[in-house]
């Protein structure tokens, strides 16, 4: 038999916007549920190293799922009739439906990039449910810097351009093997999906006016961002932390926008202390 990784993947169906949607999820470990949310235009493979880290899985049941329209999760039936645009309400509904389907009790939710944004919404609105939220590369407000229409048009390859856009977000110090694995996920996204995700990340999901309302005594907030992140910059992370009283902000030196997949060994040195602190609280 091969040396199997500890990750187990399964499919199930849950309702998304009133329609049945086949969802793919992976998990490993036992203990406190840790729900992981991937970046815009990618999928849950980004968390494979975390799922295989015994220092994490001995304390946490790590669960990473592909959002509908992403990875091995289907889009809902009839998806061809509508342009995909992720909204704040839909994103929150998906995460809460997933947690309900899994019957999770007081989970930690950790999201990266747009996932790092939505966890701030959840920290405010679901503070009594989540044990803590971890926002990787997650600021409460960003400034767009390129036109989204480039991402979905017939004369530009959507996968190639998505990868080429976000390759700027990987730190130059990150290992080439993991840089290109991270970008490979982007090359494989469905047509228009990265663009539709950025609708939430750049436009619909702004949260800076409400982030001061988060009660970190009820739901602790951890912000961790990479030095080389060009969208959720260290400055925007610090500004977000300043608006969320009691939050913890860490700038990861030599890291980009995809810490869990672009440099997993370095990321482990940053995330393990956070997870230990949450478990010990």
């Amino acid at each position: 038999m091969p040396a199997f990784e500890p990750i187990v993947g399964r499919y199930f169906t849950m309702e998304v916007a009133g329609k049945p949607c086949r969802i793919y999820a992976e998990e490993a470990g036992q203990g406190i549920p840790l729900v992981c949310l991937h970046t815009a235009g990618s999928d849950a493979r980004q968390f494979r190293h975390l799922l295989c880290d015994p220092k994490v899985t001995e304390q946490y049941r790590v669960i990473a799922f592909d959002l509908p329209w992403h990875g091995k999760s289907n889009p809902p039936p009839g998806f061809r009739e509508h342009e995909y645009k992720l909204t704040t309400d839909l994103y929150k509904e998906i995460v809460m439906s997933f947690c309900a389907a899994y019957e999770l009790n007081s989970p930690v939710v950790m999201g990266c990039s747009m996932g790092g944004r939505v966890v701030l919404h959840l920290a405010l609105e679901q503070a009594s449910y989540f044990r803590a939220v971890i926002a990787l590369e997650g600021a409460d407000k960003l400034e767009p810097y390129y036109g989204l229409d480039w991402l979905h048009r017939p004369d530009v390859h959507g996968g190639e351009v998505a990868s080429a856009f976000v390759s700027a977000q990987v730190a130059p110090q990150s290992p080439d093997e993991f840089r290109w694995e991270t970008l490979w996920h982007y090359m494989q996204g469905g047509p228009g999906i990265f663009k539709g995700d950025l609708h939430f990340y750049w436009h619909d999901g702004d949260f800076d006016e409400r982030s001061p309302l988060i009660d970190t005594k009820q739901c602790p907030v951890y912000l961790l961002s990479g030095e080389y992140d060009s969208s959720c910059t260290p400055e925007r992370t610090q500004a977000t932390a300043a608006r969320i009283r009691g939050s913890s902000a860490t700038i990861m030196a030599g890291m980009g926008h995809f810490p869990m997949s672009e440099n997993p060994k370095l990321f482990a040195t940053y995330i393990q202390p956070v997870l230990h602190e949450i478990a010990a609280a």
């Binding site: 004369d155 856009f165 390759s167 110090q173």
Partner: protein, 121 residues
């Protein structure tokens, strides 16, 4: 400042293969100096200073000389490490018809970064 770009690109067979659909001339600017970089099927045919106002590229990318020097460091400082991280910080400027650039963005990023491993001069 671009003395070795042609040789470095053309010696990189994987890069030339990825650019095999690219045949055009684009303009590279550093401070007030403009260079025209002529490409045929992914190979760099010529890198030449711009001599006449009528010599243009299909698109142009410009930055300060010092910005390019930092871009070509082995590990550039943040914001300088990639064209797409230079744009939001106003460290670089694009003009012209961007379609061929966007269609082959990773190729052009690597062509422009090709002096990198020698470091800033």
């Amino acid at each position: 400042m671009l003395e070795d770009l042609q040789a470095r690109v053309n010696a990189n067979t994987a890069l030339v293969r990825r650019g095999r659909w690219v045949s055009l001339t684009f303009l590279f600017g550093a401070d007030d100096e403009d260079y025209l970089i002529e490409i045929d099927k992914g190979q760099v045919l010529a890198v030449a200073p711009r001599r006449l106002p009528t010599e243009v590229g299909i698109f142009s990318i410009r930055a300060a000389h010092a910005t390019w020097m930092e871009h070509w460091q082995r590990f550039p400082r943040r914001d300088y490490h990639d064209i797409w991280s230079m744009l939001p910080k106003d460290l670089a400027r694009l003009d012209g018809d961007l379609l061929p650039l966007i269609q082959n963005l990773q190729y052009f990023k690597e062509v422009i970064a090709s002096p990198r491993d020698q470091g800033a001069q």
